[in-house]
Symmetry: C2
Subunit: 453 residues, 2 copies
């Protein structure tokens, strides 16, 4: 039995599972339809997402309530939420671009999302309005037999940590997986494409988009030629996909399809410093927090670099806290700072010399190239004090700014830290653990050990 | 009395001194003339250098024996040396482009140098053939009263460590000092020019040179329009001259004219490492050793940079040894090395992974940007071992290469080192010690203290 055949035995749903999820979805569609009729509104439920296309691994049910364009957005949302709460009794409101209801039904996770009904070529009103058209396109172009190919690709990408278009992942969406299989015919075909592709990637199934996209990975959305369905994919994730495709094709193994299990942790004695910067997470959606977390990380990097701490690596994690872990080479600022003066042919050298010659313990003025310099003694600052002082002058995003005062700084030399961030740092390797086999367990049994060794 | 008037009382020769040096020079000229007659050769002695132009501070006597162009070079040299030795009884042979005789006469240092007699516009045969023409030009264009102006400029530049065109200095020659005073009329005029000049400097007294010189400081040699008399001047020394001119004009002080005394040593606690690299000096002239010493220093800088030692500053010194002192931040190589792999879209990622995945204790492959990386554990190496290993693959010049095996490496944390190089490192500041006055002593009394504090 080939590797993919074995994998599919574990990741494909059984006929019973298919029946169960389809019947739950149908029941939900009927109930929502009934609610629409009762309320007398021009709206209808549409099954979207991976269940609607039969390409799921985790059978989450996504149902959109598509309203007629004549309704104002406020009414679409309030009515949509009302119906959602009636159907999902313990449902909670969540937010993407606009709110929706998320809950459980017959053991499945269900999202009920209000949107507008649009036809191919019509202008969308909200970001989610295209989803029903995506379902339609995929079901028209992806034959029954190719659904398992999408499952394999999805599992492969999930395992690599490059699945999902949310900002915290910057990866390939389920829809992109489907388009790739439509374009290249099979899981194998997709991997062969990535392993031999060069530079920026630009795919267009219909081949008539006129737009020049700047993203590293472009796959034109066949229902909207103006949109790159792969816009979320980062350079790093494209790189991972290429390298892993090549490695897998050379030596196919089941471990490439395990998800929920992080890559094996790798530790070495590095004699570097690890410092964790933590800010409470504001109560807003991750897609808005994450870019701010990146601003935070980039501010920290700049500050540490300027302070002579020599940052080497960093990891961002958004959970209960916004956390940035930085590996750096020094724990204190140097005992002196180097002040570069104006070029020697500027009249301003006099003022520069007058200013620094007064500083007790100075060295200089000395000349390097065509400029003068002074070295000036500084009281060494520890990283915490230095960052606290400098971070004030950085804007780290609307919502994080308010939390800046609550910044904590911990050296991981002294604290036994057991969070996600450190684990992420230790499992940056992209290759899966080759020994893992599906035969032993269906899902990874436990969270990886996070105690520093 | 103005500062320059006071300084001139100390640096200008007294009428008795002038008489003494002139009579010594005349006696030498007569004796050499007699030797030429005796030998029956077409050659005549010419007084050149600062004594010939009356612009000296240190009255060294330079006499050239100008041979007729009909003689072959070998004969010029052998006859020139023979005469030199007859005149200077304890004379030693020294080498510039070709050998000459150096010795003492009536208490003065004397150089007797063979050359060819050329006329203005004729092609030179050896590098020194122009000197008699320089003397002629200066004596025709520099009035008696301006000689003290040249002395001031010479003393100012000597004091700043930017006097002399030899490779170890890369500064302004005595001839350039004379040309500058001819061009700008006075010491004050020269300083005003430098303090307000911008960018590259290009001076041409006659104003008809057609050549475009690339040097940072150009002053066309009026006896040879193809030659930049200031070609030796480095960017650093031009920068020093500009900054010091400006500082002096703002606040003229006698200390700007003291030479033989290095700038005041400045020390601060820097928490950095100082390592001295030493190679025995080959028995060749400094102008040939020095560029090789620079190659050696640049090789060391590269090696230390690649090894993660973080070089910060360096100083070269050529004496009994070729010494390079490097200030750096680390004394050992890191515990791991980072190996950058090929871009992700290259087929070579497979080989790269195969190679490093086998290394015990590796971290990776991980992705940064569009490339993959491995961190690999390394046994930390001390600077001495690391440099010894790597220096082999650098070429540090024909003569130093032979000495490479005799390299010694000393950490200045452990050795009480009392050499020139460390003193040079501690006295990189360009400003003179403001308190120094000529009234206390004519010359600096002693070598500066070199014990590390």
């Amino acid at each position: 039995m080939s590797v993919t055949e074995r994998v599919l035995r574990f990741i494909s749903p059984s006929p019973e599972e298919v029946k169960k999820v389809n019947s739950a979805a149908s029941a939900l569609l009927r109930r929502i339809e009934r609610e629409c009729t009762t309320l007398g509104i021009k709206a209808e439920p549409v099954l979207v997402g991976s269940v609607s296309k039969g390409t799921y691994i985790d059978p989450d049910i996504d149902i959109f309530i598509a309203f007629d364009r004549s309704y104002p957005l406020r009414e679409v949302i309030s009515t949509g939420l009302k119906i959602g709460h009636r159907i999902l009794y313990a449902g909670k409101e969540r937010y993407a671009e606009h709110p929706y209801v998320s809950g459980q039904f017959e053991g499945f996770r269900v999202d009920i999302v209000p949107c507008y009904r649009i036809e191919q070529g019509e202008r969308i009103i909200t970001a989610v309005d295209r989803s029903p058209l995506h379902t339609k396109f995929v079901n028209e172009h992806l034959s029954e037999g190719k659904r398992d190919e999408v499952r394999l690709l999805r599992a492969f990408m999930k395992s690599a940590g490059i699945y999902g278009s949310q900002v915290a992942v910057k990866g390939f969406s389920g829809y992109v997986c489907e388009l790739l299989v439509i374009r290249f015919g099979s899981f194998q075909g997709v991997l062969e494409f990535f392993s031999s592709s060069k530079g920026k990637i630009s795919l267009d199934i219909h081949g008539y988009s006129k737009r020049a996209f700047k993203d590293p990975f472009v796959i034109v959305d066949p229902v909207d030629q103006e949109r790159n369905a792969g816009a979320a994919v980062s350079t790093e994730n494209l790189a991972k996909m290429r390298v892993l495709s090549r490695e897998y094709l050379k030596n196919p193994q089941e471990s490439y399809f395990v998800w929920g299990l992080e890559r094996k942790q790798q530790r070495m004695r590095r004699d570097t410093e690890l410092t964790l910067f933590k800010i409470p997470k504001p109560q807003i959606v991750d897609d808005i927090v994450f870019p701010q977390a990146e601003k935070f990380a980039s501010a920290l990097w700049n500050i540490l670099d300027q302070g002579g701490f020599q940052p080497l690596n960093f990891v961002i994690s958004v959970g209960e806290f916004v956390e940035v872990l930085v590996e750096h080479r020094f724990s204190k600022t140097p005992r002196f700072s180097v002040h570069q003066g104006p070029p020697a042919d500027s009249e301003r050298t006099c003022d520069f010399i007058e200013k620094y010659i007064k500083v007790r313990g100075h060295v200089g003025p000395y000349v390097v190239g065509d400029r003068i310099y002074f070295d000036v003694p500084e009281e060494p600052k520890i990283i915490e004090d230095f960052v606290r002082e400098r971070i004030r002058s950085y804007n780290i995003g609307k919502n994080l700014e308010e939390m800046k005062e609550k910044l904590t700084v911990e050296s991981l030399k002294h604290v036994r830290y057991a969070g996600d961030t450190l684990r992420k740092f230790y499992s940056r390797n992209i290759l899966p653990d080759k020994d893992w086999k599906f035969s032993r367990q269906r899902r990874p049994p436990e969270e990886p050990d996070d105690r520093p060794s």
